[in-house]
C-alpha cells in the first residue's frame, strides 16, 4: 500500500477550479517532486493534503488516502491530530514563517506540546537535540533566540526541525529553498536528503525549479493549469518527456539549457574605440549599524562597454543592490565615482538611465491604467503633446509585444510577465541608453522568464542599450550577460567575460557558487 494516494482531487477557489481531478502516489521513504509554474495548482494540492486550504477554497471531490484512511472526509478538528504528527510541513518563505515574538526554542517545542509529548524538561532537551540534528551550532543559545536574530538559512533549518520533530511519515516541502541563496539552498536540500535517509520519511517536494526537482527526486509530477501533464520516474521524464509542456519547461529552465555564451565582440565593433558606457571606480558605501560603520560596498570598480550586458552576481548581502542604487543615483556613495557617458545632471540623468525593479507588481501604481503608467515618464519630461504621447505609448507596447487591448487595464488584471513588460516599456519611454535591471526576472516563472530574457536581448540589439543586470541567479546571468562581476561581502572577487568566469572560475567563491547550481541533466 502506498503511504499517500491522492485520487481525482478537485479543489476550487470561490467556485473557480484550481485543481482538476489529479491523482498521484507517494511510497514510503520516497521523494516525489511536483513541478509547475505559478497557478498550476501545485501548492493547492500540497495544502489540500495537509488540510490547510484557505477559507475561500473548497474540496470538490476526490480522496486523500494516508495509509489507507481518507483524510478528505475528516473535519478540521480531527485533522489536528494528523498535522505535525503524521504529516509535517516545510514552508516556503523562512523569513515570515516563524512567529516574530516567540523564541525559536518555544516554536519547536510547541509541536511537542500540542501533541503532548513529554513534560517541560523533556521537551526542552528534545528541542536542543533537534537543533543539533538540523546542523545549528550552539543549539542552547539558538533556542533562546528570536527568529529575527537568525539568518534565512538558519530559520529554514529551524522550520525543518519543527517538521521532523515527531518523525512524521510524510513531509510536505513547499518551495523550501526558493527564498534562499544558492549555496544555502544546496545545504538545506542536502539536509532534507539526509533526514529522509535517516528516518525513512517520504517527501512531497513542491517546486517551480526543475533543476532542483530533477536532481533530488525519485519521481516527478508535472502540473499545468490544475492538471497533471505527466508523471513518472524522474530520469525517464527528463530524458524522454512525453508531454509537450514538459519539453517546453526543460528548454526554458535556464539551469538546464546549454546555450551559447554571449560574446562581447559580437555586440561591439572593435574597430571603433568607444568610451565605456558605465565606469565605476572605487565605489564605497558605509551604513551605520548602531555605533560601528558597516561597509556594504567596499571598493567596487568595473567598466561596461556600450551595447553590452554586465552582470553583478552575488548572494543576499553581497552589496550588489546597493551598488546598483548608487549607479542610478538613488544612493550617495561614501566615496568613489560613477561615470555614465552622455548622462546629464539632475533630473535629466533619468532620461539617460532607467531602472527596472524585481517586483513587477509593487513597482506599478495599481490605480493607474497601463497607458497612464507607460506615458508617465513622457508627461514628467513634457515630451510631445497628448497625441504624440499616445502614439509613443502604442509603439512601446508593440516593442514589448503587449496587445493594445491592455492599455486601459490596471496592473492587477495583468499576469506577472505582462507586468514586467509594462515596467520595461515604461523604462524605455524616454529613450534611455542605460537600463539597470535589479533582479528583473527573478519573480517570474521559467517560461515567462525565458520570454522576458529574449525580449531584453532583442531590445538591446535593436536599440543599442547597455544593461547592468543585478541577479542572484547564475543560470540567468550566464544566459543574458556578456561580462560578469561576482560580488561577495561588498567586494568584487572575480571579473571577466561570462564564458571565462563560468568555464574557468579562478576564485574559490565563484567555484562554490557554480557548484551549487543544479547540474545540467540533458
Amino acid at each position: 500500500m502506498s503511504l499517500l494516494e491522492v485520487r481525482d482531487l478537485a479543489v476550487s477557489y470561490d467556485a473557480r477550479r484550481a485543481v482538476e481531478g489529479i491523482s498521484l502516489t507517494v511510497e514510503p521513504g520516497e521523494m516525489v517532486a511536483v513541478v509547475g509554474e505559478s497557478g498550476s495548482g501545485k501548492t493547492t494540492t500540497a495544502h489540500a493534503i495537509i488540510g490547510l486550504l484557505p477559507p475561500n477554497a473548497t474540496l470538490d471531490g476526490g480522496q486523500i488516502l494516508l495509509g489507507g484512511t481518507d483524510l478528505a472526509t475528516w473535519s478540521d478538528r480531527r485533522m489536528e491530530s494528523i498535522r505535525g504528527a503524521q504529516i509535517g510541513l516545510i514552508p516556503q518563505d523562512p523569513s515570515n514563517s516563524l512567529n516574530p515574538v516567540k523564541t525559536v526554542g518555544a516554536q519547536i517545542g510547541e509541536v511537542l506540546r500540542i501533541h503532548k509529548r513529554g513534560d517541560r524538561r523533556t521537551i526542552s532537551r528534545r528541542v536542543v537535540d533537534l537543533l543539533t540534528r538540523v546542523g545549528l551550532p550552539d543549539p542552547e543559545t539558538r533556542a533562546r533566540q528570536y527568529p529575527h536574530e537568525l539568518s534565512g538559512g538558519m530559520r529554514q533549518r529551524v522550520l525543518i526541525a519543527i517538521a521532523i520533530a515527531l518523525e512524521p511519515r510524510l513531509i510536505i516541502a513547499d518551495e523550501p529553498t526558493s527564498a534562499l541563496d544558492v549555496t544555502v539552498q544546496r545545504r538545506i536540500l542536502d539536509l532534507i536528503d539526509d533526514l529522509r535517509a535517516e528516518f525513512g520519511t517520504a517527501v512531497l517536494l513542491v517546486t517551480h525549479d526543475l533543476g532542483i526537482a530533477a536532481n533530488r527526486s525519485d519521481r516527478l509530477v508535472v502540473m499545468k493549469d490544475g492538471r497533471i501533464e505527466e508523471q513518472g520516474p524522474s530520469s525517464q521524464v527528463l530524458s524522454a518527456p512525453q508531454a509537450a509542456y514538459t519539453g517546453q519547461l526543460l528548454r526554458d529552465a535556464p539551469a538546464l539549457s546549454v546555450r551559447e555564451f554571449r560574446a562581447v565582440d559580437e555586440a561591439v565593433d572593435e574597430t571603433v574605440t568607444q568610451e565605456p558606457a558605465i565606469v565605476v571606480r572605487d565605489l564605497v558605501k558605509e551604513f551605520r549599524v548602531g555605533r560601528r560603520p558597516f561597509r556594504a560596498v567596499d571598493g567596487v570598480s568595473f567598466d561596461v562597454r556600450p551595447g553590452t550586458t554586465h552582470a553583478l552576481v552575488g548572494e543576499s548581502g553581497s552589496g550588489k543592490t546597493t551598488t546598483a542604487r548608487m549607479v542610478v543615483r538613488f544612493a550617495e556613495p561614501t566615496s568613489g565615482t560613477v561615470t555614465i557617458a552622455g548622462a546629464g545632471t539632475g533630473r535629466d540623468f533619468r532620461r539617460h538611465v532607467q531602472l527596472v525593479y524585481q517586483n513587477p507588481y509593487g513597482s506599478l501604481d495599481p490605480r493607474q491604467s497601463v497607458a497612464a503608467i507607460v506615458a508617465e515618464p513622457l508627461r514628467n519630461f513634457r515630451l510631445g503633446d497628448r497625441a504624440a504621447r499616445r502614439t509613443r505609448v502604442r509603439d512601446l507596447m508593440e516593442r514589448v509585444a503587449l496587445p493594445e487591448s491592455l492599455l486601459e487595464r490596471g496592473p492587477r488584471e495583468l499576469s506577472g510577465g505582462q507586468r514586467q513588460r509594462v515596467a520595461i516599456a515604461r523604462a524605455l519611454a524616454v529613450d534611455p541608453a542605460v537600463v539597470v535591471l535589479d533582479e528583473a526576472v527573478s519573480a517570474l516563472d521559467v517560461t515567462v522568464q525565458a520570454q522576458i530574457l529574449d525580449l531584453l536581448e532583442e531590445l538591446q540589439r535593436d536599440l543599442g542599450l547597455t544593461y547592468l543586470f543585478i541577479s542572484h541567479d547564475l543560470a540567468v546571468v550566464r544566459q543574458i550577460s556578456h561580462t560578469v562581476s561576482v560580488m561577495n561581502k561588498g567586494r568584487i572577487v572575480e571579473f571577466g567575460t561570462t564564458q571565462r568566469v563560468f568555464t574557468d572560475p579562478r576564485h574559490d567563491y565563484t567555484r562554490e557558487l557554480l557548484a551549487a547550481i543544479p547540474e545540467p541533466v540533458l
Partner: protein
Amino acid sequence: MTRYVLRRVGQAALVLWAAFTAGYVLLWLLPGDSILIKFQNPELGLSPQQISEIRAYYGGGDPPLVGYLHTLLGFLRGGFGYSIDTGTPVVERLAEALPETAKLATAGFALAVLIAVVIAFAAGYSRTSWLRGALLAVPSLFISVPAFWLGILLIQVFSFRLGLVPVIGGSPAQQLILPVLTLAVPISAPIAQVLARGIDQVYTQPFVPVVAAKGASRRWILWRHVARNAVLPALTVAGMTFGELIAGSVVTETVFGRNGVGRLTEQAVNAQDTPVMLAVVVLASTVFVLVNLAVDLLFPVLDPRLKAAA
C-alpha cells in the same frame, strides 16, 4: 536599552513643558478677565482701586514673562497657585476632584478594553461571515454615539424605567455603573477597530499556517500566536484614548452630576479661572505623557524585534 529609556523620559519631560507653555500662552491670550467676572458685581461694592489691588495680589500685574516663570517655578515645586473663583489653593480643589475621576477613568478604560477585546476576538474567531460582519459593525456604531445622549439614555432606561440603578443615593459602586458605561462605550470603538484589523492582518502572515501544520487548534493559534502580534498596534491606540478620558469625563461628569476633574474643568471655564484651567491642562498632559511613556517602554518587551532597534 538604558539610552532608549532615558531618551523616552527626556522626550516626555519636553512634551510636558511644551504643554504647560502652550496652555499658559493660550490662557493668557484669552480675552476674558477672571478678576472682573468675580469682583465687578456691584453688590460687592468694590472700587476699581480695590480691584486692581486684588489683581496685584493674584500676580496679574506682573509682565507676562515674569508671570510665566513665576508660575512655571510654582508648578515645578508642586504649587499650582490659588483658584480665583473660590480663593482656595488649586491643589486642594484638584485633590478633591482627582480621586473621583481616577475611579471613573480607570474603570471606564478597563471596561472599554474588555469590550474591545471581546468584540475583536469574537470577530476573529467566528467562522460565520454574517456574525463577523455584525460584530465588526459594532465599533462604528459605538463611535457615533454622543456621550451626553448615551448618558441620558442610560439614566432613562436603567434608573427610571427599570429602576435597576438609583439616581440619587446608592452605594459608590452603584453610582459608578452608568457613568463608567457612558465613558467606556465610545472609547472602546477605536481600540476594537484597530485590534480587529490587527487580528485579520496577523492571520494573513505565513507563520499562521505553519502553526496550524503543527496540529494547533484554532483557539491555540488565536490566543498563543495571533493575539500577541495583534495587540501591538492596539496598545498605541489604547494609550492615546486613555489621555482622552479626562476630556471625555467633562460631559460624563456633568450629565451624572459627579464632582470630578471634568466638572472642575467645566466650572473653571465658566468662571475663567485661569490657575485651575492651567492646572487641569498640565494634569491631563501628565496623564497622557505618562501613559504613552508606559506604552513606549512596553513595546520592546512585547516585540523582541524592537529591542534591537531600541
